[in-house]
């Protein structure tokens, strides 16, 4: 892989990681409202620190510079030098938003909103400046240590020697290097340092061996040698110092510069004497081999990272793999499932002798394939907490804005579902929660007047139910106002003036396009462009949405979703020689249709009387232009399906098996076909179309456009 591509990949990881870090910061910051414990602040700090470090490493300096202020603020909070105030939390939350936008912009290679960032930076700077008395947590302790030690042990002033002969009258350094006994224990190897120096210029090394003890008392890991290093060349002081940077606490070192030339012949050369760095023990004592540790200044000790007492969630060993790779794998496994079921059928035509063995092998293959398929599918599964995590912030901000008191309860955050489903359900959920807060929950005074607790509750729950995942958004607010909805629907001509509607039907009206009963358009909601989109998104995922509401007591919105988009629990149906698949989720019931219950209205849909309800009938053979066994209703079966809150009867010749089918899209090889969600390959190798129930309803309505209230 080329360098650029590799860096691109690494940047991608950095962006993902930054977004995750920002999410962590956000959720923990919201947590700080409740309890400001050390580990929470620490984890927020760590996230900011990582983003800053990464951004600097990868050259995103705006991100890094801005994060620096945020990090400083957090550092003071975790040191305890700055109180955790609601205002500071609010500013940090806004900074998280700003950072997120900034990282998004960098990722998309778009210009950054510098104005917004400048405003935030200013606010942070102001907040930081507001505590002038704060101790500088970084510099002060180190400085204190330095002074303390240097005053305690006066640095030995090196005697100024004349330039050594080695320098031959040229410029150069004479370095008096006296390691402490313990220097070798940190694995700083003098030979490597000398090699480093030798790269800067010609080097002469003189070892002083007078402190080396007798062999019996010699400790192998202690350093008894001292060196006098003569380095030729006009090397910058900083460069020379850098070589000893790592050991300056473990040695006594003096640098002497000889400018060379005429000066060298002068009686007193003007050496540059560099004050030796602080040392704990100036003169090593032979009988005390144990290194005397430099006392750690107290403030520094507190500031130091105490080991995190508990693991932060979500770090459990994971790898990042691109979804295309996973999808390819899933596709292959899907093919395998199909091949396996083809082989199973082939076994039926085998000779009895071979049959037993073949059957045995096939049983095993079936089991293995199933397991393989399940675990491959698992790769795409993510806990719904990825979608739920944004809600504490959303609710926090919105309730502030709306002046309502809300408690958000989350449950089943660990429930897993397909990544694509998860991504697509996120926005509809936001809509639902906003609605619940804005329309559902009442203001505190209204709640008190109604005898309810002042603080409203919104519950978000996720759980599995029979191969599906259910997500519920529940509030204990005012519930849907049926009369108001009905009046508005009549006003809009969505419902005939004299129509009698059930509660359910009235509730479902809120899903009609452009429907809103809000008295004024607020910032939050009320434009009526929500619920129809919500329902369409959910249906696109093969899901169903239902409402239960009680006036004065609140509403529950229940979303039922398939666990994955790759596999469908299907009912196979037969029309003539063809097999079709209908999603089991969409099927309400299947009945034998009686002719006398069918009302044919010329130019309009045929209606079938299902108990108290008239449902339109879709003749599948007409839709797909195939030859059925019989055109008579009473010879076939009526599969009652539900979509968009309405029921339809789908006329088929026969019901076949129920089975899981692997969904293959038509778009890849052909194009999208209205009323068809995709295709699958059955065990006998034939292709069966999967009926897209909401799409079918749409196609059906279009053919009677203008006559049905549901027609778009």
């Amino acid at each position: 892989m080329s360098l650029d591509l590799e860096m691109e990949e690494i940047h991608k990881i950095f962006f993902e990681e930054s977004f995750e870090g920002l999410d962590v910061m956000e959720s923990r910051l919201l947590n700080l409202d409740v309890n400001a414990d050390r580990e929470t602040i620490n984890s927020i700090f760590r996230a900011a620190h990582s983003i800053k470090g990464g951004a600097a490493t990868f050259g995103f300096m705006e991100v890094s510079n801005f994060t620096h202020g945020v990090e400083t603020l957090l550092d003071e909070m975790r040191n305890g030098t700055r109180p955790v105030t609601p205002d500071a939390i609010q500013l940090l939350l806004q900074s998280v938003d700003g950072l997120r936008e900034m990282v998004k912009a960098v990722q998309a290679k778009q210009p950054i909103d510098t104005q917004r960032i400048a405003v935030l930076s200013d606010e942070i700077a102001q907040l930081l400046a507001r505590h002038p008395g704060r101790p500088a947590p970084v510099a002060a302790p180190a400085a204190a240590a330095t002074t303390a030690v240097t005053t305690a042990v006066p640095a030995p002033v090196p005697v100024v020697d004349p330039a050594p002969a080695f320098l031959q009258g040229g410029p150069g350094w004479v370095i008096d290097f006296r390691p402490h006994r313990d220097m070798l224990r940190t694995n700083n190897e003098p030979l490597r340092m000398f090699a480093e120096l030798a790269r800067l210029g010609a080097l002469n090394v003189v070892a002083e061996t007078d402190e080396v003890p007798s062999l019996e008392s010699l400790q192998a890991d202690e350093c008894y040698l001292r060196w006098r290093l003569e380095l030729a060349g006009a090397v910058e002081k900083r460069t020379v110092e850098e070589v000893f940077d790592w050991v300056d606490a473990n040695c006594t070192i003096a640098y002497q510069y000889h400018a060379g030339g005429a000066e060298a012949s002068a009686a007193t050369p003007t050496p540059v004497v560099v004050a030796p760095p602080p040392v704990a023990e100036a003169a090593p004592v032979a009988t005390a081999p144990a290194p005397a540790p430099v006392p750690v200044p107290e403030a520094a000790a507190t500031a130091g990272a105490a080991p995190g007492p508990k693991a932060t969630g979500g770090d459990a060993g994971s790898i990042r793999v691109s979804t295309t790779k996973v999808d390819h794998l899933i596709n292959l496994v899907g093919e395998l499932v199909i091949t396996q079921s083809m082989l199973s059928r082939f076994a039926d035509g085998c000779s009895p002798a071979e049959l037993e063995k073949l059957r045995e092998g096939l049983t095993q293959l079936t089991r293995n394939t199933r397991e393989l398929q399940e675990s491959v599918m698992q790769i795409r599964m993510l806990p719904i907490s990825f979608a739920f995590n944004r809600f504490p912030r959303l609710v926090h901000d919105l309730s502030r804005k709306l002046g309502k008191k809300v408690e958000l309860k989350l449950s089943g955050e660990g429930t897993e579902l397909d990544k694509t489903v998860l991504e697509k359900i996120s926005d509809p959920l936001v809509h639902l929660v906003r609605n619940a807060l804005d329309h559902g929950l009442e203001k505190p005074e209204v709640r008190i007047a109604a005898g309810k607790p002042e603080t409203g509750t919104i519950e978000l729950a996720a759980f599995h139910e029979g191969g599906n995942i259910i997500i519920e958004v529940k509030d204990d607010g005012g519930g849907l106002h049926k009369a108001k909805i009905l009046a508005r629907a009549r006003e809009r001509g969505l419902v005939a003036a004299d129509a009698e509607l059930s509660d359910d039907q009235i509730h479902n009206l809120i899903f009609a396009a452009g429907f809103s009963t809000a008295d004024s358009i607020s910032d939050v909601s009320g434009r009526g462009v929500g619920m129809d989109v919500v329902r369409r998104n959910i249906q696109d995922l093969g899901g169903v949405v239902q409402i239960a509401s009680h006036e004065g007591r609140g509403s529950t919105i229940r979303i039922r979703l398939p666990l994955t988009l790759a596999i469908l629990d299907g009912q196979l149906v037969r029309v003539g020689a063809d097999t079709y698949v209908i999603s089991l989720v969409a099927i309400v019931e299947t009945i034998q249709a009686q002719k006398d219950r069918l009302n044919a209205v010329p130019g309009s849909a045929e209606l079938f009387r299902l108990r108290d309800e008239y449902i339109p009938v879709v003749r599948l053979y007409e839709m797909f232009g195939v030859e059925p066994d019989s055109r008579a209703v009473e010879d076939g079966l009526l599969v009652v399906v539900e979509a968009e809150g309405r029921r339809f009867g789908v006329l088929v010749d026969d019901l076949l098996a129920q089975q899981q089918v692997v969904i293959k899209t038509l778009e890849t090889n052909y194009r999208q076909v209205a009323g068809v969600a995709g295709a699958t390959i059955l065990g006998d190798g034939t292709v069966a179309l999967i009926i897209d129930v909401p799409g079918l309803v749409q196609v059906f309505n279009d053919s009677f456009a203008g006559r049905s209230p549901l027609a778009a």
């Binding site: 950095f14 990681e17 694995n187 473990n250």
Partner: protein
């Protein structure tokens, strides 16, 4: 045989970058996401160099160095901590814990390799 470097960082992008740079220079790289994981690995395997971030969940880099130094097999292993410029005290704490030296963040691949060449 190529030297093995244990790279410890909680940030996947930094790990990737270090990994990519070091592998490109012919080193073998083992990655760990925090001190706990690194220590666990180090208890069972020998490595030629430890390169660790400071701020990490569960166990930070300073503690990791301290723990590793107490293992007989890691007494003479070079250990470098990755630290930010501002944290002079972190450098000192690192030294105290037994770190060989430090690499100041942000660094570029060349700096990383040059620094490692000083100890390997």
């Amino acid at each position: 045989m190529a030297s093995t470097i244990l790279a410890v960082d909680d940030s996947a992008s930094m790990r990737q970058m270090v990994n990519f740079t070091l592998k490109g220079a012919g080193y073998q790289v083992v990655q760990a996401v925090d001190g706990v994981e690194a220590l666990e690995y180090a208890r069972q395997h020998a490595v030629d160099l430890v390169l660790t971030d400071v701020n990490m969940p569960r166990m930070d880099g300073i503690t990791l160095v301290k723990e590793l130094r107490s293992l007989p097999s890691y007494r003479y292993t070079p250990m470098l901590v990755l630290t930010t410029e501002s944290s002079q005290d972190k450098k000192m704490q690192g030294k105290q814990a037994g770190a060989t030296g430090w690499i100041v963040k942000p660094f570029n691949p060349d700096q990383l390799l040059a620094t490692i060449a000083r100890v390997l």
